[in-house]
Amino acid sequence: MTRIKRDTIAYLLIVGFSILMLTWAIPAYTPPYPGYGASPAMMPIVSVGVMLFMSCLSIVFIGVALYMNKPLPLEEREFPEDLEDGDGFTQVGRVNLYHLASIMIPCVLLVVAIEYIGYMLASFAFLIVLQYVIGNRKWVQSIVMAIILTAVLYIVMRYGFGVPVPGPQFF
């Protein structure tokens, strides 16, 4: 997928989101006008309006450029990192969904698991899985690091800040 196609899809999604906010979310979840000051819906409408207007404008610009068959700027045709060496901070590029899922899923599972099996076990298991996903196949190193990190943060939270660790306590 070229960058221009992807940007157009993103703009269309923003347009859809903005319309949903304006027609449903803002009217349904904003208090009624109290009779003085600005309406509570005013600022949300203004901010969503800016998003909607700018996205529509960008779609129009892209459409006009394509219609007139003008060669588009290079950055609009391909990903910058495909064209030249990045400086290490150019982060625009292809979305790697597999990679994203491989990190996000263990994190979400940790949030769920911590409520059932407690901080200690959930954190230990999470750190082992995370290191495996990252590519660490040294099991001894993985286990030792998981134990140390879990214990250090437990001590910092429990005794350093006096904050209860999340989830049930089995130990």
Binding site: I26, P40, P73, C107, P166
Partner: protein
């Protein structure tokens, strides 16, 4: 005078000194690690400051930021991989010196230049912030509303590659910043009946997700695609002249350092530009005015001095708009604004009136942080150099787990951890699709203040549509907002036209040669 003395005494209390010293040391350490920068470190450490006094907390975070700015130079010099974006210009002369076996000399020059830039900038901040704040006190809600509008537009327009995407990001940030209790009716707004959203989205999980977690997602992606980075060479030569920066060498570059500091101060005081701009601008000016132009890019101490003095000067000067107007000019200042708010203070001109002792304490801490940076950098250089070699497989799980537990720590709430993950996900896509997370975050932080100002304008003016026209400063600022929008559009349209013309002429040339 009593306030000044009391504030300065507060800044030299044992707790303040310990945390300030720790902040600078941790800052240099995290700055040296490629991929971790100052704002990200502040986001990760803000939850810890919940348990500190306001002065200790702000001192710790300011120290962290100052340390991270110098730390960025360590990996720039040793690996040719800048630890922070603003250190990119330092690589051009720092790495060639490392290749010549003079890595320590390059690092020392970077340190002394950083300290010089930081010190000059701190002095300027101390001299001008309070008088400017006294003037800013005359500003009413109309001016504040207009000022926030122009700041957001500048940040969305100048700090990004596309004004439209910048404004979309700022609009999204404002929308999410409005979630919670509506100020006039005191009723929930856009909470979708989720009771945890009643008090709005907390800044800490949003900032950790957007700045730290999404960055780590990208770093891990890069790691999986390209593997672990290079390792630092041994840069500590046994020859004294390859290690030391002599007085003569330092003072021969003093003009460059002062010019760099002034550029850094100017850029830092402007919203949206940021330290990388200061650093590149200063390097460019130094090269143009230097007697030894040919040495630039081959290991010039002057080049390192220009880049480092400018980027370090941004740290203190970016606090000028924050202290004077309550508007953060860059990400680090936005995070510091969050820290002020967590401790029950609203940054702005009233700070000098209501918390004068604290402000003088912060000034004291800022000055001491420069001194600590010199001491820590000078004596800990060898140890910080080892930080660039921490294996990614050990570092990233620690950072990910710290993101998760740091989000929990703020309010002891797993809901906040969920918020952090959601914003990490959003941040990943914002970076990939080139939507400015800086504009988003500053919009998110300023949204309540912006709305409050608008409500005050509407109520005070009794619905006078032309209220803004009675306030000349507000009119000028609103006109500036529209000017920035129009100019940015004009510049981008012209740039597009130029590229199209170049592409067309290249295609025509190729056709002819065929």
């Amino acid at each position: 005078m009593e306030m000044i003395i009391a504030g300065l005494l507060d800044s030299i209390s044992p707790a303040s000194l310990i945390f300030l010293f720790g902040g600078v040391a941790v800052g240099v350490l995290v700055g040296a690690i490629p991929g971790i920068n100052g704002p990200m470190a502040i986001a990760l450490f803000i939850p810890v400051t919940y348990y500190m006094t306001p002065l200790t907390a702000i001192g710790f975070l300011v120290g962290l930021n100052k340390g991270a700015f110098f730390g960025g130079a360590v990996s720039a010099v040793l690996l040719r991989t800048p630890g922070t974006p603003e250190a990119a210009a330092t690589t051009w002369d720092g790495y060639p010196l490392t290749q010549q076996g003079k890595g320590e000399k390059a690092l020392r020059m970077a340190l002394y230049s950083s300290v010089a830039g930081d010190f000059i900038s701190t002095v300027v901040l101390i001299l001008i912030a309070a008088p400017l704040a006294a003037v800013a006190l005359f500003m009413g809600p109309a001016e504040i509303f207009a000022l926030i509008s122009v700041s957001l537009t500048i940040i969305a327009g100048i700090g990004t590659t596309s004004l439209s995407r910048g404004l979309v990001a700022a609009g999204f940030g404002i929308l999410l910043g409005l979630i919670g209790t509506e100020p006039v009716t005191a009723l929930p707004r856009l909470t979708f009946d989720v009771y945890q959203l009643g008090s709005g989205l907390s800044l800490i999980p949003v900032a950790i997700g957007l700045l730290a977690f999404s960055e780590i997602l990208l770093q891990l992606e890069r790691l999986s695609l390209k593997g672990d980075g290079e390792h630092a060479a041994n840069v500590f030569s046994s020859k004294l002249e390859d290690r030391m920066v002599t007085f003569k060498e330092f003072f021969s570059n003093i003009k460059t350092l002062i010019r760099g500091s002034m550029i850094g101060i100017g850029v830092g005081a402007m919203p949206g530009l940021g330290a990388p701009v200061a650093s590149f601008m200063s390097y460019d000016q130094a090269m143009k005015r230097s007697k030894n132009k040919e040495e630039f890019g081959k290991g010039s101490l002057e080049g390192i001095g220009a880049s480092e003095s400018a980027n370090s000067a941004v740290v203190a000067s970016s606090l000028i708009p924050l202290f004077v107007l309550g508007i953060p000019g860059n990400l680090a200042a936005a995070m510091l604004m969050g820290a002020f708010m967590i401790h029950g203070m609203q940054p702005g001109p009233l700070l000098f009136k209501e918390n004068a002792q604290l402000m003088y304490g912060i000034y004291g801490s800022l000055m001491l942080a420069s001194l600590f940076l010199l001491v820590i950098g000078r004596f800990g250089m060898r140890y910080f150099c080892k930080a660039v070699d921490i294996p990614a497989m050990i570092l990233y799980p620690i950072v990910v787990f710290t993101c998760i537990m740091g989000s929990y720590l703020g309010q002891s709430s797993m809901f906040d951890v969920g918020v952090m993950l959601v914003f990490g996900f959003i941040g990943y896509f914002m970076r990939k699709f080139d939507y400015s997370y800086v504009a988003f975050l500053i919009g998110f932080i300023l949204a309540p203040e912006w709305e409050r100002a608008l409500q005050q304008v509407v109520i005070i003016s009794e619905y006078d549509t032309f209220m803004f026209f009675h306030r000349p400063v507000a009119v000028v600022l609103m006109a500036l907002t529209f000017f920035v929008i129009a100019r940015t559009f004009w510049v981008s349209i012209n740039a597009g036209r130029k590229i199209r013309l170049e592409a067309a002429s290249t295609a025509a040339g190729q056709h002819k040669s065929d």
